[in-house]
Each structure stands twice: as structure tokens, then as C-alpha cells.
Symmetry: C2
Subunit: 121 residues, 2 copies
DNA sequence: GTAATATATGAACAATTATTCATATGTGCA
DNA sequence: TGCACATATGAATAATTGTTCATATATTAC
């Protein structure tokens, strides 16, 4: 917690210095916040969301995923690489076919909470 | 569930039609998946993540937020608008000062799960 | 070997977006 | 009325990114 929150760039006066200091103490590390944003960037694309939801139900090969979500094989392959780099999916090879599956325990809960925000009201 | 998952664009053959059909049945509505991606897009930016984490600790005015995260007042104001449009924050006015606070129950849990993904290993 | 199929990947293009700068709005105070 | 301050906003710019297209790699079957 705390650290690395300067105030060089801000162009206005601090109004409540006590509040700012208190909040600063409770901020997670910059690095964690950066990584968190990077993770959510991965979730911030409809194609990747669809792929992940598909994999909730079953492991699938690239072709089947492309067919399911109606995208080209190339587009799917590019996005699978992003998901793999984010350690969200893993794969196994069987001949020329590559099967992708989920590699994370938290995604489902994150998505469920997200859906609750969307559908509430 | 199910609906709207065609296969016109796919340029390869379905290998496992049974799996594809089963997964298709379990897919949420396209619209929900789109909205979910939109929500995560909002989370997918370090500045907005910082703002939200700050508001976990306390309501804050724009100036204080800018000072805390070391960004210009203008940049913060722009991002607060994005967060407001996503129904993630709300505000109250007191004279010329505008205080922002969280307007959602789920964000914290989403972030906590995200951090668990990041910090595991 | 060759052909066919599944997947991966690099380059290019279009679209989106975060920040900056300048300025507008609105409030309080002298 | 005029000035100072807090915030909002429009336009411009730079950077990022998703898809497409062409092509490379790898495996199977003949």
C-alpha cells in the first residue's frame, strides 16, 4: 500500500489534505493497479468475452470457436494469443487440432459480478 | 440464453458440431456480452482504476482526486464523466466543489477477484 | 514426395481513445 | 460588479488496438 502518488501535474489546489493523505495510505501499489487495468483491457472486447464464455462450457478447438462466434479463424487465433498471454486460457495439441480451455478460477466470478452491475435496475 | 450465433464468416469447417451446438445453447444474450465488454473497457484504464480505488476509501472532490493520482484536473474530469455514464460513480455539489463517490456494490469484488488473478503464482 | 487441413503470424488499415490545451460555466467573496 | 477558484467540455493529437489479408508452419493422408 501507499507510495508513488505525487502531485506535480495537478493544476489545482488540494482542498482536503487530510482526506487525500488518508486515501493515499490506502491505495494499492501502482504496479498492481497497472496490472489490474491490463487485465480488464483483455476483458474489454466482445470477441474475447465470447471466447471466454464459450470456454466456460467446454474446451474447444480454434475452428469451432470461430464457427460459434462467427468470426474468421485468423481473428480468433489473434485473440486467443492475447488470452493466452494474459494467462486466462491454456491449450493442448492433438494432431493438427489445438484445443483451448480456461486457465483461471476467477473469470467466472468477475463476469457474474459484472453482469449484476449491468442487469441491475 | 442461446440465439444469434451464426457461422457465415467462419472460413473453416466445424469439427465438433455437437460441442458447438451445446456451447451455443449456453451462451448469454449477445446484448449482455456486449454490455459486459463495455463495462470492462471502463475498468481497462489505469487512471479510472485509480479513481475508483480512491473512492473506495472516501468520497472526494475533483481537485483532490487530481492531486492524489497526479493528473490534471481536466483529465480527471473527463474520466469521471466516463465513470458516471457507466453508472459507477455519483456526485453531489456543495458550492463550487463537486464530490464524487461510488455508485455500485460490485466493483470492489470485481477488483478483488482481478487482483487474485494477478497475484497468483 | 504432394495435397489438404488446422492454426499461427506479420503488415496494413480503420477505428477508438486518453490526454492536453484552451476556454466556458458556475459559485463565492470582496 | 469584478475577481478567484472549481469544474466541465470541445477540438486536436498521439497512441493503441481489432480485423483483414496474405502467407507461413505443422500435421495428416494419399
Amino acid at each position: 500500500m501507499h507510495e508513488n502518488y505525487g502531485s506535480d501535474k495537478c493544476d489545482c489546489n488540494i482542498i482536503h489534505e487530510d482526506v487525500v493523505n488518508m486515501v493515499r495510505e490506502n491505495m494499492p501499489k501502482e504496479e498492481h493497479l497497472y496490472d489490474l487495468a491490463e487485465l480488464f483491457k483483455v476483458f474489454g472486447d466482445t470477441t474475447r468475452i465470447k471466447i471466454l464464455y464459450a470456454l466456460f462450457a467446454s474446451e474447444m478447438c480454434v475452428c469451432d470457436i470461430a464457427s460459434l462466434i462467427n468470426m474468421t479463424q485468423s481473428a480468433v487465433s489473434h485473440q486467443l494469443r492475447v488470452l493466452k498471454q494474459a494467462r486466462l486460457v491454456k491449450y493442448r495439441k492433438d494432431g493438427k487440432v489445438v484445443y483451448y480451455s480456461l486457465d483461471d478460477e476467477h473469470i467466472k466470478q468477475i463476469f457474474d459480478q459484472g453482469l449484476m452491475h449491468i442487469t441491475e435496475n
